[in-house]
Each structure stands twice: as structure tokens, then as C-alpha cells.
């Protein structure tokens, strides 16, 4: 009984200490005028997201009055992210950009945050409509497709036959990108180029390899291969080297820097594209700042200035597109290969 009494006294002393310390703490609450913008990622310890954080820091430095905070749960769960958002609401941060572990489960808590005056956007992995103001996608089909043709054209001096090593024949993403490639290649500057065939490696290394070899055998004068899939481009690079066609057949596509590093450095694949996590963190921070300072409301048609990334236009339902994918080449590959 006595022990319980002492525990009650302890709890009272907690409350008392609260009164004592609350006085001192409240004064420091609003001492700095910096906007506190949070990048909340799926989980910590992931190189991709560490790079997102770097982008946030870069933007914060440029903007001056922004403090970029990097947060994430230790495991990729929606519950972990919800806990963090609750503490961010308590801290009264100004804005949160989220790469969500669950597009629906975060909605109640992000709604609560928005009600508390915090601006919420999602990037990389979006939150469903209603739970955020803007959803920033790294790129869109048209930009990706057109860029692939531009990249291969630069490598082949705008002449010759080009083949595509895609994923599966039903892959929605790749098919959409390829249809935009076909659109782009109709432009007059590509008049000496021809997209001869699309083959499907089914996102399997061995099949992609065989299909790439088959493509080179079928068109001995093939000038270039585009592989808009990370597995395909890796297999195609190996196929070109094994067939001794390095320098004769150029290669580009969408590839992971860490996997493609050796081929980019030795010149088999001189340039390729993919969205860049640094840019995602950078752009998200710029968008948050514009929303927090009331420059834009995030309505469709709003244009947000995003520093070195140019302008981002808010589309229907808050969907926005960052821009064309980032181009990796021998100069920058080492930096990004260490990240993802």
C-alpha cells in the first residue's frame, strides 16, 4: 500500500515538474524563424532515401530559411510512419513530404496534420487523393519515352537502326514508354534513324540476354539498343560485350547506377537514365516551401518554381511531374553507384 502511495507521489511530481519546466520551455518554442520541412521516407538505412535526404539539404541551403529534417521508421511499415507523423504534428512542423508505405493507411493521420495547418505532399510512393495536397511523380511516360530516343540518337550520331529490349509484352509502363519512343522518332531530326524491332526479355536476365544477341544477329548493322528496364539493360550490356560489338552497337535505357557502373565506365553504355533520389528530395522541399509560404495553393494549373529542376506544374488531382529522368554518364556514375 505504501509503495503505491509513493508511486502516486511520483506521478504527482511528474505533473509538478511539468509545470516547472513547461514555463521555461514555452519561451524557446518559437525562437527560430526557419521553416521546418520534413522528408519522411519508407525506412531508414536505405541508400536511395539517404540520397533523398541529401537533396533536401541541398534545397534547404539554397532557400536559406529552411531546415530540412530527415525521418523514417526503422522498418517499412505504415504504423511506424503514422507514429512519426503524430510526433511531427506535436512539433508543429511546417510541411511534410512523404514516401508512403501504404497509400491508404496514412490518410487519417495526414488529414489530421493538414487540419493542424501542416502542408502534406507525397513523392516517390504516393498517398491516395485526399490525404495530401500534391503527389510528385519522378517522371511520366511521355518524358521517359522521348528522352530514350534523344539519348540513343546522341550516341549513334542520329543515324542507323535501333532495337528495343523491353520487359514483358504486357508490361504497361514499358509499352507506354515505347509508344512515346515511336512518336518521338517521327520527328525530322531522326529521319536517318529507324526503330526496327521490339523484343521482350520478360525482365529475366537470361531471356533478355538471348533476345539482345538475337537482335544483333538479325540486324548486323544495328547501331543501338534501348532497354527501358533495369534487368534488360544489364543483360544487353553483357550481350554486346560478349558478341564483340562494343563501340559498334550503342546502348542506353533505364538502369540502376550500382549495377551499370562498370559498363558506363568502360563505354559499353555511355549514358542511361533513371529518376534520381537527390532530385526528388530537392524538388519536394521546394514544393513544400512554396505551399507553406502560400505562394501556391496546390490547385491544378499552379506553377511551382523548383530551383535547378525548373518548374513543376500541378496537374489534375494534385498529380505533378518532376521532369525528365536524370542522365547518368562516366562523370557522375561513381557518386550515384554508391547510393542505389
Amino acid at each position: 500500500m505504501k509503495n503505491k502511495l509513493i508511486l502516486v507521489v511520483m506521478i504527482l511530481s511528474i505533473v509538478a515538474s511539468g509545470l516547472i519546466f513547461a514555463g521555461g520551455a514555452q519561451e524557446t518554442a518559437k525562437e527560430d524563424e526557419n521553416l521546418r520541412l520534413v522528408l519522411l521516407v519508407k525506412s531508414l538505412g536505405n541508400g536511395f532515401f539517404e540520397a533523398v535526404a541529401d537533396g533536401g539539404q541541398e534545397a534547404a541551403k539554397e532557400l536559406g530559411n529552411v531546415e530540412s529534417i530527415y525521418q523514417g521508421p526503422s522498418a517499412s511499415t505504415a504504423e511506424g510512419q503514422i507514429e512519426i507523423i503524430e510526433t511531427l504534428i506535436a512539433q508543429k512542423v511546417d510541411g511534410i513530404a512523404i514516401s508512403a508505405n501504404d497509400r491508404d493507411a496514412l490518410i487519417p493521420v495526414t488529414k489530421k496534420a493538414m487540419k493542424a495547418g501542416i502542408k502534406i505532399i507525397s513523392f516517390d510512393s504516393g498517398i491516395s487523393s485526399g490525404g495530401r495536397i500534391i503527389d510528385l511523380a519522378p517522371s511520366d511516360a511521355e518524358l521517359i519515352g522521348r528522352q530514350q530516343i534523344q539519348l540513343i540518337a546522341e550516341l549513334t550520331d542520329y543515324t542507323g537502326k535501333v532495337g528495343v529490349v523491353s520487359a514483358t509484352s504486357q508490361a504497361t509502363n514499358q509499352n507506354e514508354w515505347i509508344s512515346w519512343m515511336k512518336e518521338e522518332i517521327k520527328k525530322p531530326e531522326y529521319s536517318k534513324m529507324e526503330l526496327v524491332e521490339v523484343v521482350y526479355g520478360d525482365d529475366a536476365s537470361d531471356k533478355s540476354y538471348r533476345e539482345a544477341v538475337g537482335l544483333m544477329n538479325k540486324y548486323p548493322d544495328l547501331a543501338g539498343i534501348i532497354s527501358p528496364t533495369t534487368i534488360g539493360i544489364l543483360a544487353a550490356a553483357k550481350a554486346i560485350e560478349d558478341e564483340g560489338k562494343k563501340g559498334q552497337v550503342q546502348l542506353t535505357g533505364l538502369g540502376l547506377p550500382s549495377e551499370m557502373q562498370q559498363y558506363i565506365i568502360n563505354g559499353t553504355c555511355q549514358q542511361m537514365a533513371l529518376w534520381n533520389p537527390v532530385d526528388l528530395g530537392y524538388t519536394s522541399t521546394y514544393i513544400l516551401k512554396a505551399l507553406v509560404e502560400g505562394e501556391v495553393e496546390g490547385k491544378p494549373g499552379d506553377v511551382i518554381d523548383c530551383g535547378r529542376m525548373g518548374q513543376v506544374v500541378v496537374g489534375e488531382d494534385g498529380m505533378s511531374i518532376m521532369g525528365t529522368p536524370f542522365v547518368f554518364n562516366a562523370e557522375n556514375i561513381a557518386t550515384y553507384a554508391a547510393i542505389f
Binding site: K2, K4, A22, A29, G45, A75, A78, E86, T87, A90
Partner: protein, 353 residues
Amino acid sequence: MQQADRQPKQELVNISRLIDENSLKEKLILLFTKWEVLLGILLVFEFILFSNLSPYFLDYFNLMNSTFNFMEKAIMALPMIYIIMSGDIDISIASIIALSSFAMGYAASMGMDVAGIILIGLAAGTLAGMFNGFFVTILKMPAIAVTLATQSLFRGVSQAVLGDQAYTEYPKSMAFLGQGYVGDTLIPFELVIFLFLAAVMGFILHKTRYGRKLYAIGSSREAARFAGINVSRIRFINFTLMGLFCGIAAVLLTSRIGSTRPNIALGWDMEVITLVVLGGVSISGGKGNLFGVIMAIFLLGYLKFGMGLINLSAKVMVITTGLLLVIAVLLPGFLDGVKARRKLKSQQMASTL
């Protein structure tokens, strides 16, 4: 005559003074070697520390609101005390949540009303708990093996049906349970439910014969059986209760996040067991009390919240929790040693006099 009379009296006074002084000291030592008291002191330190580190910590709204983060786990910790107390373990509890939440999502997709959805959720949890209890007590299989299997099984059902899909269409009025506040106050409804359940479970554990039997079973299952306790029945009831409370937690969690995915509550089994062990319930059974676990719940809950407020990385939180747990496992043994030594010493002193 007079001298002879005075002599023993003085001695008597001396002895009584010795015991008196000793017992006061003993009482203090006994008090401060009590685990839940140490947790209470830690909690006070935690409050002082965080209120100095962050201006947002000691804020009535924040302290209340942050309980949303750990109330479901706290509710699950209550029957887990019973389970661990009686020498069992249940590592399928997070999967029971997944199963129960899945059942609710299915019911909602069939157009059932809120009361129906809640009933289905509670029933699914209870049945899952009984399923565990059946294998453990009737088929006499080890609890760790049974619940390891059902851990995959219960979540597997949800995974098989939902895949990468989710149930998101819940009636709007259901949101109150997991997101609402009591009346116009800032007290979360979830917190009230927890306090109520804690009072009931605490009463059963400390004031009823059922509770005494739990301690007896945990100390020695055989001895309890010989003392005429129906050990199997009590263990079966424990697992059923665990299932029911998981059902309650599932209702609250599903209501709070408004959706059901197969990976819901992933990893919570270990977090709940952590709360109970940190609360001083001996993992080998027979020792501990509800008060320590409640202390541990708020200690860890506010630790996470405070660390989040000063934007400490989640990795630091994981390490801190791990360290606390190591201490929780080692320190009670050490304290028992201290207590035993003091007792021995005082007995020796009394006997030499």
C-alpha cells in the same frame, strides 16, 4: 534485584531499536529495489529530460494525443501478462490482428454496419486465440511452436486473399473508435478503453483466485496441478483472452488507420512482449505485476514520442529499447540478489544478538 531487572530491559530496548532502524532502512532498500518503482523513477527522469530538450513535450494535448501511438499495443500487453505469467508465450498476436482486421474488411465490403463489423473483428480474434489454446492445452503442444505456426497461418489467410490489395471502404462512423476523443475533452477514446481494461485485468490478476492461480501455475505447473488447479483450463482461457484483446486492438487499429492490408501491425508481437518483460514480468513465469507493465507501457511510449520530437533517428530508438530490455532482464535478478543478501545479513545480526 533492581539491577537484574534493568539489564534485560535495556537489552530489549536495544534490540528493538536495532530492528526498528534496520527495518526502516530495509523498507527503503526494498522499495527502491522494486522494479516498478525503478521504472517510475525512470519515467520521471524521462519527463524531465524531454521537457528540457523539446518545448513540445510537456503539452497537455501532445501528451494525450501521443497515446494513440501505443494504446493498441498496451491493450494487447494486458492478456500477454497472463500468458507470460503462467509460463506460456504467444508470438502470433500481430497475425491475429491481421486476421481480425481482414475479417472486418471483408464484412465491410459485404456492406455490414459498424456494430456487425466490430463483432466480426472481435469474434475472429477470439476464435484465433481459441485455436492457439486448443493446440497448446488439448493437444499439449509447446506454445512457442504452435504460435510460430499460427503466426504464418493467420497472416497468410489475409495475404492469400488480399495480395497487394487493401480494404479501404469502412463506414465513416467507425473512425471514432480509433481516432475519436471523449466528448469535448482531449482524452483519446482509445486511452479510456485501455484504462478500463487495465483496471479489470489488474483486478482479476491481483484480487481474485484466478489471478493467484496464474502465479501458482507460473511458479510450478506441476505443483499447481497437484494443488487441484485446472491448469489446462486456465491456460486455454488465457489464450482465448489474448485473442479477444487482439480483436479489440484490431478494431481500434483498423478504425485508426482506416484500412486493412496484409502487413498490418507487422512486428507488434515482439513489441508487446517487450512491454511485458520490461514491465518486470519474468519470462519464465510466476513473477511480476500489472503496475510494472503499465509503467513500462508509458515509459516506452513516451520515450519513442520524446525521441521523435527531437528528431532522433529511429535507429537510436531501436538501440535504446534493446538496452532497456537487456537491463530489464538482468537487473531484477541482481536486485533479488541484493534483497536476499540484506535479509540474510539482518537475520545474522538478529541471531548474534
